[in-house]
Symmetry: C2
């Protein structure tokens, strides 16, 4: 893939809504805010956009809007007529959409592309929300009881504790860190800090995972504008998409092998090693997922993710801050909007625009996003490597 070439795919602008409970706002309204802030950040008008790749995962079941979801979001706006591709890949929908948009750019299909992730999970019928979430799996409809995903992560957590001696305190440390980071992020759903003790004392969702170890139900939208590097100003910071990994789950074992091979696919494309990475956003759908993702991404050895979480390395101020945004546990997790929210955070960090939560001199960032469940593995893993190239 030509992504490392002289004229790479670049992120011209990034914007998102605050994530949270937005029952008074429509999906269209959230989509529009993310889009307009990304365009403003890129400094271009809607008329420049030659294509929109729109990622949503559950509007069919939750808003009875299938098929042409993105076009409906754009109807009557300045984007009328622009080609739209609707992409769906569960919690990894918008990072998959980023890949589709990158291919379209590399194929010289268009010059400027908008990628939007948008999702409204809060619903007056709470059972419908859980039913929609459960549909991101190969579990037959009549067997979808409880929270399939929290059960999946709980089982992983128990395995990790048994195999490596990982403790609930280490998982709680992940959550406390991410809430501390989220407190510095105006767009985070939860902005109050919690202690390790608070995390341990919150109610058990799926043993050993407590409520504060789990990402919440959220509404929100996120967007980036992509173009080729030669179209960007030479006197501003430029963030390039240097590596893209995408795979489906293929094992039923207890390790995040699918995420590992996807990370190495992206690293190889970018020409980097894990030690080159300055900052990461990982998919902490639960605290154990961050611990395992850090291992799969090569930030530590297999089994050492719990220790890493307590070491301070992954905290703001540490040598490799993970989820400076607050991650899914604190920023929130509107399914299809999460992947691009990670890309937004890395873009802003690499450009030095993150204010209180800014990581100093970050040049290379990696985003790990996964979703869905097939067999006993994630259905999708997507890893993106971004690099500030000027």
């Amino acid at each position: 893939m030509k992504i490392r070439g002289e004229n790479p795919v670049c992120i011209a602008g990034a914007g998102m809504t605050a994530f949270g409970r937005h029952e008074d706002r429509s999906l269209r309204n959230l989509f529009a805010e993310a889009t307009s802030t990304a365009l403003a950040h890129a400094g271009i008008g809607a008329g420049e956009i030659g294509m929109v790749v729109a990622a949503n995962s559950m509007a069919g079941m939750l808003q009875s809007q299938e098929s042409v979801r993105g076009q409906v979001m754009l109807a009557g706006t300045q984007f009328a007529g622009v080609p739209v591709v609707n992409v769906e890949n569960a919690c990894a929908s918008s990072s998959s959409a980023l890949q589709v948009a990158s291919w379209a750019l590399l194929a010289d299909r268009v010059d400027w592309i908008l990628v939007v992730g948008y999702e409204k999970l809060f619903n007056p019928d709470k059972a419908l929300t859980f039913s929609a979430l459960a549909s991101a799996s190969d579990v037959p409809e009549d067997k979808r009881v409880g929270s399939i995903f929290m059960d999946f992560y709980a089982s992983r957590a128990r395995h990790h504790m048994d195999a490596y001696g990982t403790t609930v305190e280490q998982m709680a440390a992940v959550s406390a860190k991410n809430r501390r980071h989220g407190a510095l992020n105006p767009q985070a759903q939860f902005r109050d800090e919690v202690s390790v003790e608070d995390v341990l004392q919150s109610r058990v969702v799926a043993d050993p995972l407590t409520l504060l170890m789990c990402s919440p139900i959220s509404d929100g939208a996120s967007a980036v504008v992509l173009t080729r590097g030669d179209r960007l100003a030479v006197n501003a910071p430029v963030v390039a998409v240097k590596g893209l990994g995408l795979n489906s789950g293929d094992n039923t074992g207890p390790e995040f092998k699918t995420i590992r091979r996807t990370a190495w696919q992206a690293y190889a494309q970018a020409g980097i090693e894990p030690t080159d990475i300055d900052i990461a956003e990982v998919h902490d759908a639960t605290a154990i997922a961050e611990i395992e993702a850090c291992e799969a991404l090569g930030f530590c050895e297999r089994g050492e993710g719990g220790g890493l979480a307590e070491s301070g390395v992954t905290t703001l101020g540490g040598s490799l801050p993970v989820n400076a945004s607050g991650g899914l546990c604190s920023r929130g997790h509107p399914v299809a909007a999460t992947g691009i929210a990670q890309i937004c955070e890395l873009t802003w960090q690499l450009r030095g625009e993150c204010g209180e939560r800014q990581v100093n001199n970050a040049a290379i960032g990696v985003a790990e996003n996964h979703g869905g469940l097939v067999g006993d593995d994630v259905a999708v893993a997507a890893v993106t490597v971004l690099e500030r190239i000027q």
Copy 2:
């Protein structure tokens, strides 16, 4: 876009299920048949496939399967682990997926890609099927009464009759022709011929459209294998993807302007004129849509599509056969499977593999696929130009 280059995107193989009422077969079963026949046609094994682009439009509402639909189709098969992108664009879902796959090839992301369209519309709850179909529009949920799409086409038909003197007999001629073609297609849903009189006497669905002027509810799946030309054998026919147009609707007027500009986008890329085209598959969701599509594609002047339908030009044996497969009215219309079914037909025709319905010496074929409804225009238009290059 580099699609006309020395090493174009090519269709290595094409396969589909029969379209029809398959209440005894699962979506997975239909998906698997289309996939295995396309692989067999390409002469390659599943292990060669580096990516799957899967197009489905309504499994969220109809099968409670959102988010990772393609991965669920592939779970436990030889494709385990292969990256999957799920694409949705109403009736144009799988032709949009073809474009995504072409970009991935042109970006050198993979060498062999499988594109699959699959849909099961028959449902024990018939109202749910109509509700899912209506969701492919920007009509608010509480205003989706009757068949939004048949009302849309009926309104277009009345306008065409008023403005150009188009007659119901001309529309019936389209249907009778397509049923005559479909009678020669083993994969068509309806294989019995009907006369113009039969069409006119069938019940009115939305005045002036009668039942036999409308595409049916269908189940089915279709698939193609794509690769770059340099990977194909030199001693076999090779069909290349020479032009790809994709747009969203941007007008509320009575003309198919969105389809016209999409066609010219594809023609420009392919370096062809309408007069170069030997065979076409168009989106006859209703008979009037074929009449208007022929005009939008430049096969005749605006307003002359009715006369063209009666002239014999578009019939097998005529100078420009349209819908030799039987089209949507006869082959059937399992929403997301239709776009690739058109590509299957053109591929087989250009390779000379169509038996009784073979068009002689066809070298250039065009497929027109549209879907959804936003405002008073189609939500998506997709046009593909294929050419036999050896």
